[in-house]
């Protein structure tokens, strides 16, 4: 290691080695209490290290470069070796679980890998690790979200109610896989060599499969194999992409990629496009969405990972690194169209669903579609706003998946019909869900602001209004719909909710972080997005300034095309809410008990005088109330597009169209 200060080095390697070590220790410790304390301490130490590293790198000017002296310690050979071992293991795994498709896909990767690694001796980049603001954002996200998930699982393991469906002997494996996954994500975010990213890609695919295997949900086994197969397919596309990129630019450096002006050179452009398509598979964009939708019943830690930081840390991150190099080419615009199309269609499908998990699955796909849409435009403002969209996405999905898990364990179903009046049984969970949904809905929230920016800065791209405007509206209605399904008047807070302490800690931490990121819109944008992407040199002259006076979007020559005074908005919204609540309190405080009327039931609650007693009337009322519900489907009374549009047909159609767009993307890049 040359020319770096030891403190930064210590911090950086801590971020990767602590979870790695913690995972291995967890695997070999037999006592539950020791294992749990190791897991907790590893998580806490890692978080401290990540935060310290962030501060350190920010003080050092935003970039921290680590070059490793290759004569002493050959990292190239290590990664080559690791890649091969991993793929050989995957071939073996395919044979062992008798799923030949895994083996075949692994062999399909091994061949180009061997040719590339052994016959084309490539020069690896001089700087092995480069930690910039984007890497830090991804590392922070994955560490925080991963820690929350581990903490949450701890609570459930601690309770011995087997909520995780984990048998005791499988718990060590669970912790190890989780911690390794976080370590891998941190490594991929900071490595300056595409081959490292490729290694982490396959390793995380394997980790997800292992988590499935550990969770022991046999019904989902085939779907898990399918997910691994798609991940391997993505890996195959990725390795070809990397080979083409190397052929085009003769470097594997991640950091140098973005500033390359070689997009007119065919192998390079093709390589970039292939890397983006590989990222599509992880982000479950159409036509690669089926694996995620099949896995919608995945048990908790996995579902939160699959929907939360996984698509962000490997999908969004990869596209963010590669797409600026595409510049203003047709291929880039088509990537954008593919994302916009997925955004629109999946947000429509989400409205036809009524199970909590299905809705979250399609919301993940649609939100990732919005990210791809923004990224495809290649403008630095769009890249910047994607960082925020991704941050909100990770915390939102983590919270919602934890809440849905609690609901499913306690209520038995997460369908919209079942969560009505949840505050009576689960006050804490419903409060957190409600708070999160309000953040998605209130006009002053940063999520609305970032959606607004996304709509306005990408407007200049062909076809964008057709995709983005309805998509944003549909997601907006989707959250309103869940809120409507959750709320009940009048509120009855019944029993106290008993949750294990780690669960409470994790859920509240996630909620707090969600609120914090919501408030810190401007600092996050300035520090993690603007300064990062100003280094790039894209064609656009657009800029966003976010500060206390509001958010302004500038077009060419400092002309304001959009503005949002968000602080007055915050004040107005909260003033309105406070005022209305006060009035409500005042009005309901008056002596007006006699003014309440029974609801109108069209005569269905009519009772003959003296015929039946009061209880029967109540029973009848309840019965006729239920007629508004569709008991058989569980859609409750929030059907929206349920029954209007056939989701399966729509998705099949969307898959064909998206496949065509993918071919167009490849075609235009050649």
């Amino acid at each position: 290691v040359k020319g770096v200060k030891p403190l930064g080095l210590l911090l950086y390697f801590g971020v990767i080695l602590i979870p790695l070590l913690g995972g291995v220790l967890c695997f070999y410790s037999r006592k539950v209490s020791i294992r749990n304390s190791i897991a907790i301490s590893a998580v806490c130490l890692m978080l401290v290290e990540v935060l310290a590293l962030t501060i350190y790198v920010f003080k050092a000017g935003g970039v921290y470069r680590i070059g490793v002296d290759q004569t002493l310690f050959d990292l190239d050979w290590i990664v080559k070796f690791l890649n091969l071992i991993l793929l050989i293991y995957l071939v073996y795994l395919g044979i062992r679980i008798r799923k030949l498709v895994i083996s075949i896909l692994s062999v399909f990767q091994i061949i180009p890998l061997i040719i590339f690694e052994i016959f084309i001796t490539y020069n690896s980049p001089k700087l092995t690790f480069v930690i910039d603001r984007l890497s830090l954002a991804v590392m922070l996200l994955s560490s925080l979200a991963g820690s929350i998930i581990i903490m949450y699982s701890l609570g459930h393991l601690d309770h011995r109610i087997n909520i995780l469906d984990l048998k005791n002997r499988r718990q060590p494996g669970f912790f190890m896989t989780m911690l390794l996954l976080i370590a891998g994500t941190n490594l991929a975010a900071s490595a300056n060599n595409l081959m490292w990213i490729y290694f982490v890609w396959n390793a995380s695919g394997l980790c997800i499969f292992t988590l499935f295997y550990i969770s022991g949900k046999k019904k989902l086994f085939d779907n898990a194999v399918r997910a691994l197969a798609i991940s391997l397919m993505g890996g195959a596309v990725l390795i070809f992409g990397i080979i083409f990129i190397y052929k085009g630019s003769s470097t594997l450096s991640v950091v140098e990629l973005a500033n390359n002006q070689l997009h007119k050179y065919v192998p390079f452009a093709l390589g970039l496009v292939l890397v983006c398509i590989a990222a599509f598979t992880r982000m479950a964009q159409f036509p690669f969405a089926n694996w995620l939708t099949n896995l919608e019943n995945a048990p908790l830690p996995l579902s939160a990972i699959l929907h939360g930081y996984m698509p962000v840390s490997s999908g969004v991150y990869l596209i963010m690194r590669t797409v600026p190099a595409l510049g203003n080419t047709m291929a880039g615009r088509l990537i954008s169209v593919a994302g916009g199309f997925t955004f629109l269609i999946s947000s429509i499908i989400a409205l036809t669903k009524y199970k909590g998990r299905s809705i979250l699955t399609y919301s993940t796909i649609s939100n990732m579609g919005l990210c791809v849409w923004c990224l495809g435009t290649g403008s630095r403002t769009a890249l910047g706003i994607t960082v925020l969209l991704a941050v909100f996405h990770v915390f939102f999905q983590t919270i919602m998946h934890c809440c849905i898990d609690i609901i499913e364990k306690k209520v038995g179903s997460s369908s919209l019909g079942a969560i009505k009046g949840l505050e009576g049984r689960l006050p804490i969970t419903s409060l957190i869900m409600l708070g999160t949904l309000l953040c998605m809905l209130l006009p002053s929230s940063s999520i609305i602001a970032s959606n607004w920016i996304a709509a306005e800065i990408t407007e200049s791209v062909f076809l964008s209004p057709i995709f983005v405007a309805p998509g944003i509206l549909f997601t907006f209605v989707l959250w309103a719909r869940i809120t409507a399904a959750l709320l009940r008047s009048p509120l009855h807070i019944g029993e106290k909710e008993k949750l294990p302490i780690p669960v409470i800690v994790s859920v509240f931490t996630a909620f707090g972080l969600f609120i914090l990121t919501n408030i810190c819109f401007a600092p996050i944008y300035d520090n993690f997005a603007e300064l990062q992407f100003n280094l790039y040199n894209p064609a656009d002259k657009m800029a966003i300034t976010a500060g206390f006076t509001g958010i302004h979007i500038f077009g060419d020559s400092n002309f304001v095309i959009g503005k949002f005074s968000w602080i007055p908005m915050y004040l107005i919204v909260f003033a309105v809410l406070l005022l209305v609540s006060y009035l409500l309190y005042k009005l309901s405080g008056r002596k007006n008990k006699g003014t309440y009327k029974e609801m109108y039931m069209c005569g269905e609650d009519y009772v003959n005088e003296g015929g039946e007693n009061h209880e029967n009337v109540e029973g009848q009322r309840k019965n006729s109330k239920m007629q508004g519900h569709d008991k058989n489907t569980g859609a409750g009374d929030t059907y929206t597009l349920y029954g209007v549009i056939e989701p399966v047909k729509l998705q099949t159609l969307a898959n064909y169209v998206a496949a065509a767009v993918i071919f167009l993307i490849i075609g235009t890049s050649i």
Partner: protein, 290 residues
């Protein structure tokens, strides 16, 4: 500092004027529309001031509600609707204005669906469907306005005198669907069908009565003014012509109301997405290709 102060004062005065006069315009327009509709049906019809009498009558009625919290949602519906109108007149960003407008409608739908009454729930669901039907058209038309006018900022568009209608005729036509839905006129009168349509159960406003129903009616007046102001944006070169066209758009609804039959909610979604969204999309594509 003085300039800024006077600017703020000016803004506050504008906001107050809007808050006071918008419902008067909306009410008068509604009254005229009811009169025309009645004449089309061979009736004499109510007075033009009837909407105001209705509101006064409702205000005087005894307070009666199913659950106390329904007031919260109605009040939020009214207030956010006013905020969106004021923001539009003060020249705020159009996308934000539209989002606030849609949010206010969502709050009302959420609030109504929390009441455990099956009929008002069906009304709330239909309100959601209506938002899904007209929302995309509103947002697409805002983006289309930006493409032609060059900015999302309302004050810029109003100052820049031009006829956006020349470039965006199909988007403008699609806006008629929004008018139709928001004025609750046939064929798109799903969540409630006020005035001259009969129905057994009243839809989304079923469980509201007295001053709360009056607030809902007041909000409808604000909404009509909001939409008319949005139409005005297409005729900034000649505001008198714009006002005329906006009035015509509103009164056109009484004709469609009387010559069409109510659609089912499936038909409505498909119709407004395919016809409204399709027309707007075609318009946007031709603007790009030009």
């Amino acid at each position: 500092v003085e300039d800024k102060m006077s600017e703020v004062v000016q803004k506050i005065i504008t906001a107050l004027v809007v808050v006071v006069f918008a419902p008067i315009i909306g009410g008068l327009v509604t009254g005229t529309e009811r009169k025309i509709s009645a004449r089309l049906q061979g009736r004499y019809g109510p007075s033009i001031l009837q909407p105001f009498y209705d509101i006064l009558k409702l205000m005087a009625k005894e307070k009666s509600e199913v659950v106390p919290s329904q007031f919260f949602y109605v009040a939020a519906y009214l207030v956010f609707n006013i905020i969106s109108l004021v923001a539009l007149t003060l020249g705020a960003d159009l996308v934000i204005v539209m989002l606030i407008f849609i949010f206010s409608n969502l709050v009302f739908a959420i609030g109504t669906s929390t009441i455990e009454s099956p009929y008002s729930k069906i009304g709330a669901q239909r309100e959601f469907i209506q938002i899904l039907a007209y929302g995309p058209i509103l947002l697409i038309s805002v983006l289309a306005v930006k493409i032609v006018a060059g900015s999302f900022v309302g004050s810029f568009i109003f100052k820049n005198s031009s006829y956006l209608i020349i470039d965006l005729p199909l988007v403008f036509t699609a806006l008629m669907i929004v008018f139709n839905i928001k004025m609750k006129k046939s064929p798109f009168d799903l969540s409630q069908a006020p005035f001259n349509h009969q129905e057994i159960v009243k839809g989304i406003t079923l469980e509201y009565s007295g001053y709360q129903l009056a607030m809902i009616m007041l909000t409808n007046f604000y909404e009509i003014t909001f939409l008319m102001l949005f139409v005005l944006m297409f005729f900034t070169a000649n505001l008198y012509l714009g006002i005329g066209i906006a009035l015509f758009c509103v009164l056109l609804q009484s004709i469609t109301d009387n010559i069409t039959a109510r659609l089912t909610y499936r038909q409505m979604i498909i119709a407004s997405w395919l016809i409204g969204g399709g027309a707007a999309a075609v318009n946007i594509i031709w603007v790009y290709l030009k």
